[in-house]
Amino acid sequence: MKVYTQNDKVKIKLKVNGEEQEVEVEPRRLLVHVLRDLGYTGVHVGCDTSNCGACTVILNGKSVKSCTLLAVEADGSEILTIEGMAKDGKLHPIQEAFWEKHGLQCGYCTPGMILQAYWFLKHNQNPTEQEIREGISGNLCRCTGYQNIVEAIKLAAEKIRQNPQEYLRLA
């Protein structure tokens, strides 16, 4: 185990949406703040207790709340944020489905919700409604009442089933 003192600056490497990033950070700095400082401002902060999931990103293939990790813990990892979902201007089917089904209003929870849906659908491409609801229960939305988000994830599952290799290769 590495021990850092407060004044240490630590050089870390991250691969975010396929781009190599090298930054010097204070050891106490949260991953979410480092990602945001790198310009990935689609990663949002909605709480300080890991309840809301607005900061959800995919780290080495796992859905994580980036406010609950120190950036130094993520050293050497591959990260997918909302900015990496669309490819060459073409929306990912989950993004399309959220638009189609009116799965967002203010949009603040949306990036985290879409990434959580991505991770969830990667593990379950034929989900029941209850599974979807449980799958996103760590992500809070105050606007939509969730019904249209659930509908969006159902529609996204349909789209993804048509070409899972293509749509689930991001992370």
Binding site: E26, V45, G46, T49, N51, F98, W99, C106, G138, R142
Partner: protein, 731 residues
């Protein structure tokens, strides 16, 4: 026609790709971060703030203390506690630092000396007035009486009398984005980026406070991550951030961590009603007398919330005799203000509880009792003088009854299987479109596209798409060629913003009228270009046509002709004015109405599950059913949260116990449920675009329907929200 279609939102592309620009996403060079030391005691005299150690910390630029400003309806110690702190969370000191982590380090190095005062923690204690919540002020900050008919004698003469205390708990609006502000320092002026519902109102209240220190303040609304009423009125942080920028001559950003947002964003509801109702044995209600108590917390701004509740206390029922006594009391809690519904949910919870309880007392069917009392025709003037504009209340209630009866049948079968299941129905009327007016400009751009600027400031409702539909129809152009923008005091001169379910009606009508004016301007210009008389020309689907000569010009051609050539001389016979502005207001509010029906199961742990849910609304013309439905769905789940999961709790010493989204439980997808929305368009608004507004209706209709369902499922009279699990377990 785009009006009436489920058009996909024009707002979404940015938001689903991570290109939204919320307040903390906007970067300005050389910015200072503001962090705030907040009172950790509910009530105390402040003696001295000790911040010398904080100033020594590398990265700390300044510390602000003792800022007091004279702002309407706020205590003397506003925006900061200078000699008295009034609630846990009130700002005492503010640190300006070059890094936000350092700013919070600095807060650890600041202390304040204080002498504790006894806190006032609830309405009963406040009413005794023995201990003062604010030194030198009476706890009863507000008293008002509303009277219509002969309430006392009608009540006394009634065959059946009912007295009931009804409580509506304190809630926290919980927008997913905490509040924030970015002040860009520009010498003699400032640009303020804000997570706000009204940039124009913010500009005016900031200029009122600081006009001797700055020439002008431009306010730009950033993308706003939800508001629900909580981002409209002035906050201490708004003033502290602007003041800090002016004294340091630097740009300043403040974004609240969630814990601080819960301790400072104005809480809502928190009313207690002592209601007396007099009725005939056949169920006809003669009189309602209500003592309305509202816990204002530590400022007397939220009194209007009790006024709204009081003046709607007869609801959609023809009750001729009514009296409401409003008492607004001060306590040592976070100040109270509006939250989605703002007074109407409180009224509806009371009048709908009264209907259900009276039905039970009289052993009548609750729908029958409502039918006996429902307003028979509109317009209708309620006993306090509110004029309900339009609609067919009986028809909607009859439609709702069909769903209610079907759910009742299914509930009966589930009860026979031993489940605790009940069905609740609510019926409500809503007062909407708080004005006074709204503005909009419509422009024909040089590329032939249409730009609409609205004074409303939507933040998730999708109003931009709705108003684009209205303008596209009016001008006969493609929806893709219309863009709606808002949220900048430099883009439109005077405006109010988005609140009170007003934006589609007021800004939508202003945009409609501006589009009509633009059409007139364009016709005059076309006449000069086409060498015709204006009277000869017709406007058809985005073209100006001369039927005699069959000559026509598109909007794009007119725009090019007007703006395309640089240089030369003025050769126009009509003014080359490719824009028009209009303002729109109404001489009355709008009054949508609706009914919610919920089938509820309560398990032995006290957990509530909604098995079926239907909402019916008449909101006049529905411009985009998908968006309106989205408002209803979101509002229902908020109403459910308020009924069962959410409550701001203070202990008996005035300490807040719910300080995270773990303690303050807004619904997740798991507790939430599927809903169905049915709309009718019978009760139109008295405006060119006859839409009434649907932003808040569902938070009004949901709690009484859900609580009635719980009451029926558990077989016990219920008179407060929230009903928590421990209230509902049989053990």
């Amino acid at each position: 026609m785009y009006i009436g279609q489920r058009v996909k939102r024009k707002e979404d592309f940015r938001l689903i790709t991570g290109n939204g620009r919320y307040i903390d996403d906007i970067q300005i060079n050389n910015v200072l971060y503001l962090s705030i030391l907040r009172s950790n005691v509910p009530h105390a005299k402040v003696k001295k703030v000790n911040y010398e150690d904080a100033m020594k910390l590398s990265g700390v630029v300044n510390v602000v203390t003792g800022l007091n400003l004279n702002v309407d309806n706020r205590p003397r110690n506003f925006p900061m506690g200078k000699d008295e702190v009034l609630y846990v969370g009130q700002p005492v000191a503010a640190v300006l630092s070059t890094d936000r982590y350092v700013g919070y380090d600095a807060l650890d190095l600041i202390t304040f000396d204080y002498e504790e005062l006894t806190p006032v923690v609830d309405i009963e204690q406040a009413m005794t007035n023995k201990v003062k919540a604010v030194e030198g002020r009476d706890n009863l900050a507000y008293k008002r009486t509303y009277r219509g008919g002969e309430p006392e004698s009608a009540y006394n003469k009634s065959e059946v009398k009912l007295e009931q205390e009804i409580e509506i708990g304190r809630v926290y609006p919980s927008a997913m984005e905490p509040r924030g502000l970015l002040v860009e320092y520009q010498g003699d002026r400032l640009t303020v980026y804000a997570s706000t519902q009204s940039p124009h109102y913010m500009r005016s209240f900031l200029l009122n406070a600081f006009s001797d220190m700055v020439r002008d303040i431009r306010v730009i609304q950033a993308d706003v991550g939800g508001a629900f009423g909580s981002k409209l009125f002035p906050y201490p942080e708004d003033y502290i951030a602007v003041y800090s920028s002016l004294v340091t001559r630097r740009s300043v950003k403040v974004v609240l961590p969630r814990r601080e947002d819960i301790l400072s964003t104005y809480h809502a509801r928190d009313q207690k009603h002592r209601v007396r109702v007099g009725a005939n044995r056949d169920g006809r209600v003669n009189a309602i007398i209500d003592d309305v108590f509202i816990d204002l917390g530590a400022a007397w701004h939220g009194t209007y919330l009790a006024d709204i509740a009081a003046t709607l206390i007869t609801g959609p029922y023809d009750i001729r005799n009514a009296l409401a006594n409003v008492f607004g009391v001060l306590t040592n809690k976070v100040p109270l203000d509006q939250y989605r519904g703002a007074g109407r949910p409180e009224a509806a919870f009371v009048y709908e509880r009264v209907m259900d309880i009276l039905a039970d007392e009289l052993k009548m069917d609750p729908v029958e009792l409502r039918k006996k009392n429902v307003i028979q025709s509109t317009p209708y003037v309620n006993p306090f003088g509110l004029k309900y504009d339009s609609g067919n209340y009986i028809n909607l209630l009859n439609n709702a009854e069909k769903f209610y009866s079907q759910m009742e049948d299914r509930a009966r079968k589930l009860r026979e299987k031993g489940k605790r299941v009940g069905v609740g129905i609510s019926f409500y009327v809503e007062q909407n479109n708080f004005g006074p007016w709204e503005s909009a400009s419509v422009r024909l751009l040089s590329n032939g596209k249409i730009e609409v600027i609205i004074g409303a400031a939507p933040h998730g409702q999708g109003t931009g798409t709705g108003i684009a539909q209205v303008v596209a129809d009016e001008l006969g152009v493609n929806l893709d060629d219309v863009d709606v923008i808002w949220g900048d005091t430099d883009k439109i001169s005077n405006a109010f913003g988005t609140y009170g379910s007003r934006s589609l009606t007021l800004a939508g009508n202003a945009a409609l009228l501006a589009a009509r004016k633009l059409r007139e301007n364009v016709l005059r210009l076309a006449a000069s270009f086409m060498k015709s008389d204006v009277e000869e020309l017709q406007y058809k689907e985005g073209k100006i046509v001369n039927p005699k000569s069959s000559r026509e010009m598109t909007l794009k051609e007119i725009a090019r002709r007007t703006t395309g050539d640089l240089g030369g001389i003025w050769k126009y016979k009509a003014e080359p004015l490719l824009e028009a502005t209009a303002s729109f207001g109404m001489d009355n509010f709008t009054f949508p109405y609706g009914s919610h029906i919920a089938m509820v199961e309560v398990d032995d742990t006290g957990k509530v599950t909604i098995l079926e849910y239907v909402a019916l609304d008449d909101i006049g013309v529905v411009v985009n059913p998908m968006l309106a439905e989205g408002q209803v769905f979101g509002g229902i789940i908020q109403g459910f949260g308020e009924s069962h999961l959410e409550e701001v709790i203070y202990d008996e010493s005035g300490n807040p116990l719910t300080v995270s989204l773990g303690d303050y439980a807004i619904p997740t997808a798991v507790e939430s449920f599927n809903m169905k929305w049915i709309y009718s368009e019978e009760g139109k608004a008295n405006s060119p675009l006859p839409a009434k507004g649907i932003g808040e209706g569902a938070t009004i209709g949901a709690p009484p329907a859900i609580i009635r369902g719980i009451e029926r499922a558990t077989g016990k009279r219920r008179t407060k929200i929230p009903l928590r699990m421990e209230d509902l377990s049989p053990y």
